[in-house]
Amino acid sequence: MIIAQQKPVKDIAAMISDCNKVLFVGCAGCVTVCLAGGEKETEILASSLRIMRKLEHKPIETVTFTATRQCDPEYIVALDNMVQEVDAIVSLACGVGVQYLAERFKDKWVVPALDTKFIGGATEHGVWEEKCGLCGDCVLHLTGGICPIIRCSKSILNGPCGGSQYGKCEISKDVDCAWQLIYDRMTALGKLDKLMEIQPPKDWTKSRDGGPRRAVREDVMIG
């Protein structure tokens, strides 16, 4: 899923400092699971801003709503009436949700409350880790199910580099070396010989380097 984290409240406050009535829109998708922009976080953020503005003697009126998914036009239609009265919309979704709102509500000031960070998952409660770099051409079958693109600091395909020591990456003792993990797992699987194949350079056109991407499934398109 997408992992996001809330921006500092003062930064969000600055984005809407000249607004009197603001709609806060949460999302029940990924950002609910990573505790950044669900219903609960939406209520808390709205009330924090109300308190803040009250203390500044510039009270603000807030409206809150949590969409099933902000990255789906179907679910933001429900906002059509709510947005009429407000000066701005604060989205607590990932960057996709923010853009969907901005696209639909053309005359509204739409701002992000979150920093969208990466694709990953939780390793324990309150800790999330990046797992996929969205390269568009998955190589996990070559690397024992451990992603060298995003989990190796150099995205090396024929690692590990000379900086790998005691299982850690050269950039920090807190970062596991992906290639040590790959080596360990391939050893355990009895597939170490696979690592002797020299992996060719990647075709990055399938990644963001090929320009904005689109996925088309003609068989499911309607009309």
Binding site: N158, P160, I171, I198, P201
Partner: protein, 308 residues
């Protein structure tokens, strides 16, 4: 394949090679490098020129190569994968060849986190393994990396790579070295050796796989100026091992600098006499280039063979 590299000639002749390292400056004058090159020229067969080492911006390694060449030493141009994509790499390689450079050393490069622009982007479009293949393709197949033909004047470098016996996973380091040889590396320089016992174990495995017969391995050595330097490397540099007894020996020395040089000479002699499969030494006297001639002489590696 024979190239015009003098280093290759020496190594292929079975002579024990000696290389050193010159780090370009953080400014635009060639004076210091020329000074160092003049100092080293009778004592080494070739000298590496580092490529924005530790991700600190320095004068270009290829431009530095021109000054080094001009001062009478054969340069080994280092090329990391951190700062250039495959387009820039091939362009720079042809440029370097046109300027008279004949040796290239392929490396991953330190992460930019360690340098003076830690917020920059890193490239790693190709990795060091793939860079070796790229050089081979240009030279042996007369093709750009994409497969497009190089009609004439393909760059014909003697191709080097690095190996780090002190990084992990230890056993896989030997396999990865073999992988580099498969990719086309013709000479290998190792990371600085302080832990001789580990290096011996590494070389044992190298010989067991017959790798030493397919590639020229130059053992990396570094004279240390004192125990603080040793301790720093021990604690802070990923992929290096400094045994505690070495730190203590420097700590107890009356003249630590002399001790550092003595240790380095002992290491070279030991490697040359006792470790089979090593074809030379690579002396990395970091910010201490002036000590190299003494090390070479006292190690019995002077004079250097003459080649034309």
């Amino acid at each position: 394949m024979k190239t015009e590299s003098k280093l290759q000639q020496i190594l292929d002749n079975g002579q024990f090679g000696v290389t050193a390292e010159i780090g370009p400056p953080k400014h635009s004058s060639s004076e210091g490098m020329r000074h160092h090159a003049h100092m080293l020229k009778e004592h080494v067969d070739a000298t590496n020129i580092t490529d924005n080492q530790t991700a600190i911006v320095r004068l270009s390694s290829i431009a530095a190569g021109v000054h080094i060449l001009d001062s009478g030493i054969e340069p080994i141009v280092q090329m990391t994968c951190r700062d250039r994509n495959r387009i820039a790499m091939q362009s720079d390689l042809m440029g370097a060849y046109s300027l008279g450079m004949r040796n290239v050393l392929c490396l991953s490069g330190d992460h930019q986190k360690f340098g003076n622009h830690p917020t920059s982007k890193n490239v790693y479009d190709v990795d060091s393994m793939q860079l070796i293949q790229l050089l081979r393709r240009m030279r042996d197949e007369k093709k750009f990396f994409s497969g497009e033909e190089i009609k004439e004047h393909e760059p014909r470098f003697f191709i080097g790579a690095v190996a780090n016996p002190f990084a992990d996973p230890f056993e896989y380091r030997v396999a990865r070295l073999e992988k580099k040889v498969e990719a086309g590396a013709e000479f290998i320089q190792t990371q600085c050796i302080f832990d001789m016992e580990r290096f011996e174990r590494f070389m044992e495995m190298v010989r067991a796989r017959g790798i030493d017969e397919r590639v020229h391995i130059l053992a990396g050595v570094t004279p240390l100026k004192g125990w603080r330097a040793a301790k720093y490397i021990q604690n802070n540099v990923s992929g290096m091992i400094v045994p505690e007894e070495l730190v203590q020996r420097l700590k107890n020395a009356e003249d630590p600098k002399k001790e550092g040089v003595d240790i380095c000479i002992e290491q070279i002699k030991y490697i040359k006499e006792n470790i089979k499969g090593v074809h030379g030494v690579h002396i990395m006297a970091i910010a201490w280039e002036e000590v190299v001639p003494e090390i070479v002489e006292r190690s019995g590696l002077y004079p250097r063979p003459k080649v034309n």
